[in-house]
Symmetry: C3
Subunit: 346 residues, 3 copies
């Protein structure tokens, strides 16, 4: 779907100090390189400042420090000056999405299966072939995607949007303005068993999942219900795709995790943390607020000091890696040999 | 849903040597810390023994070695003595779940699409908007979750329960009393291609997946069908969420795997193994019975001796890691330098 | 389902130089070991050449170099000689699948929800309880699996087959002859946020996903839509299960990735690459054509030279690993100590 927006439309909605013809029309947001007269572009990373001179973008969004250069650029065109161009860009994408995406009409699709004992707000949308079980509550303006499943007594907060084919388990709750992508499973059983005579006796998972406001959860991510108490995601948490959150994990406000992360049971992760893709956090650990974990790092003990933590094997061409890996298997002996040499030389 | 259970109810069902007022009522199972008079608690890890003195739990489950201390605790209350308190706790959660969870009525939901050539036992349940294809057999007391898909000629054993939105592929079978969580895909094609002239020719996967009794499979886990023969999970295997089981893998009885594990094609894993989260097992390997693999370990060759195996890069603050990782890239040279020093000193 | 095929059938369809009774009947394809008179077997790996002498396979497929040995084998039976036995085997599995698998009748299942503004080719199949949204186009002979979801304006090319329960997001497109397995999510939002005042402002993802011809995508794999431009998979790409492809990734022709791989946003991966299971590619990197990455390797910088790259911690028994890992945390200091020794000895 193509949309056309004038510079006046943008500034009326998002503010900023504008210079240029406000009747100019734009149909694309894009990077400085490759931009045309109908592209709105932005400069947030000073590294790309040199591209200002060459861009043909009809409008560029810049910080005050780049305002003069942007206004005097050879390619001409409009300028929007704003303290945080990247944030302005984010809001511009939101404006674009709101204009370009058709809205589902509110109401329950005739093929959805909504239990008589469920409460769906009249302004909410329930998509085709969705199931909403008894006791579930779907809030004002919420959207339940087609083929999704809302379990018994689950609660979906106001203006929360579920993509097609999401599962929210019995008794689990999401706050307001959350976004949940396709394939997400909230509230499957945590992995709990008591060993007995060489086999595993199931510990039924009696807790639920409680998710705050403004949380986003990526495709095919799983968040298990708690064993006795609940698994908790606080407000503003952002999870990417294919993440595993074990039972009774607690994730603090505005913490973000990239794809393929695993968090084992009862880990307690602070607020404002970032966890790199494919990192793993072991169970029963604590990470304080403001911890940043690099991609693929395995966190095997608590981190009680904010900071940046890493642990990844450096990759190399295969032959070099093979030699180093073979030596690594005898590293402790190598240390002993160095110690022996040191003794000889004293 | 709240439930209330008397001490008499618990002991009637689960046994144990009880002391205290059997008319006491409980509405919660919980840890010693934070317990109230209506909480049943338990002590299985001697590390927490000190908490016995402080707990306000109305009832505690303990081993004979802690019986006297539990009975004489300052907070008072009942005691159940049993040889394995953790196992007792597991069974108590099962009792709780059986009492608190509503059961679906047996029968096929009117919106389910069940082929005329499928056999669904009269005591089985098929949920809303599920599909059961021709030739499929659903056993006594089995539950097919809403929006699940049972392929052609697939077999679901007696009392096996599928959560909403599970896929069981054509010709695949599950034994009795299995539990399968949402998003699981059993029987997608294994990853098999013959390279030819710079592209990949598909090897159709003609085997199926055969799963034993009492197997549990976590959310969004995938178990591929075999290339020629079947992929096999023996009785009592427990898989957590987001696990990938390649074609023709064989997993022995009562082996358990934590979340995000990957097992490549034709690996043969013994019985009573445990595989830590995010570990990877390469293809065509053998792990004998009783092998325990640590979290995030990559198993690159067969393990023919039971034991505990690990291989994880130790994480550190980023600056320390960077220095060590840089040195690691020259570790083989460092060994040569140590060797040269040793020669000089002889 | 059992099928029976004569040697004449096979050679009529797949060619090759045959010796033996072409009326022989086969009901199984299988490895040399364990084969019976009704098994067609093949030898592609010279390592297994010794098995030719013992096999009881009714027919073996071999390269010209093994033709004489195969024809003179003690167990007797037919021989097919072909330049690439593994490729012949792949095509034989395709013949087998075509004969043994029932085809869905073309047409839209009465329980599917197809928007009046969608275009479904008369020869295409739309399964039970599938959803096809407005503006979507489903091509000639394409198969939309039961309970799948085709978003607005999405395009499914001719003869592409979606298994049950696939999601293709709004505006995303697949080429011809693709195969997409259950649980796949194409076109969920990429993970993009602008940080502001301690929280995350969503960057709406305005791009789509464009997938070429002959692409195969494994179960529960996720391919995110681009932020501004599209995420692209070129022709012939093969992805295994549980893979995460971030926004604006570009994957070149005939590149294959094993299970559990993660590729972060804007990575550009060349043609004819292979990426081992659970490997991770960081964002904004480039891998040229012909790069092969080992299992579980984390690629943290661009690779501009074709070749084989690795970076995995070698696993060991836990006690040995613990010692080596502890020493590794002081590796940089060890290097300094070696340097100090070297200075003393000069």
């Amino acid at each position: 779907m193509t949309i056309e927006v004038t510079l006046a439309d943008i500034v009326a909605r998002l503010g900023g100090e504008v210079s240029g013809d406000t009747a100019m029309r734009f149909n694309r947001i894009g990077p400085l390189a490759g931009a045309t007269a109908s592209t709105v572009s932005f400069l947030s990373n000073p590294r790309y400042r040199a591209q200002l001179a060459d861009t043909r973008a009809g409008c560029v969004i810049v910080a005050p420090s780049e305002a003069d250069e942007a206004r005097g650029r050879p390619g001409g065109g409009a300028v929007i000056v704003t303290p945080d161009p990247y944030l302005y860009f984010a809001r511009l994408t939101q404006m674009w999405a709101a204009l370009s995406r058709p809205r589902d009409a509110a109401g329950v699709h005739p093929t959805a299966v909504v239990d008589a004992a469920a409460q769906v707000h009249p302004t909410a949308t329930v998509g085709a072939l969705a199931v909403v079980a008894a006791g579930a509550v779907v809030g004002e303006g919420a959207v339940i995607g087609a083929q999704s499943h809302i379990g018994r007594d689950a609660r979906i907060g106001a203006h929360t949007r579920l993509a097609p084919r999401v599962v929210v388990g019995d008794g689990c709750s999401l706050g307001e303005r959350c976004i949940v992508h396709s394939g997400v499973v909230i509230g499957a059983d945590g992995f709990g068993f008591a060993p007995t005579e060489g086999r595993w006796e199931k510990i039924e998972q009696l807790g639920a999942v409680r998710i705050g406001n403004d949380v986003e959860i990526g495709a095919n991510t799983c968040i298990d219900r708690g064993a006795l108490d609940d698994t908790v995601l606080e407000d503003g948490v952002k999870l990417d795709n294919l993440i595993q959150i074990g039972h009774n994990v607690h994730i603090g406000r505005h913490t973000a995790m990239a794809g393929c992360v695993g968090v084992a049971g009862s880990a307690r992760i602070g607020a404002h943390c970032t966890i790199g893709g494919a990192a793993n956090i072991l169970g029963h650990l604590q990470l304080v607020d403001g911890v940043h974990v690099s991609v693929a790092t395995v966190v095997t003990r608590s981190i009680l000091k904010p900071g940046h933590y890493s642990g990844v094997f450096p990759f190399d061409d295969n032959a070099a890696w093979e030699k180093n890996a073979a030596t690594l298997r005898h590293l402790h002996q190598l240390r002993d040999r160095v110690r022996a040499l040191e003794k000889k030389l004293v």
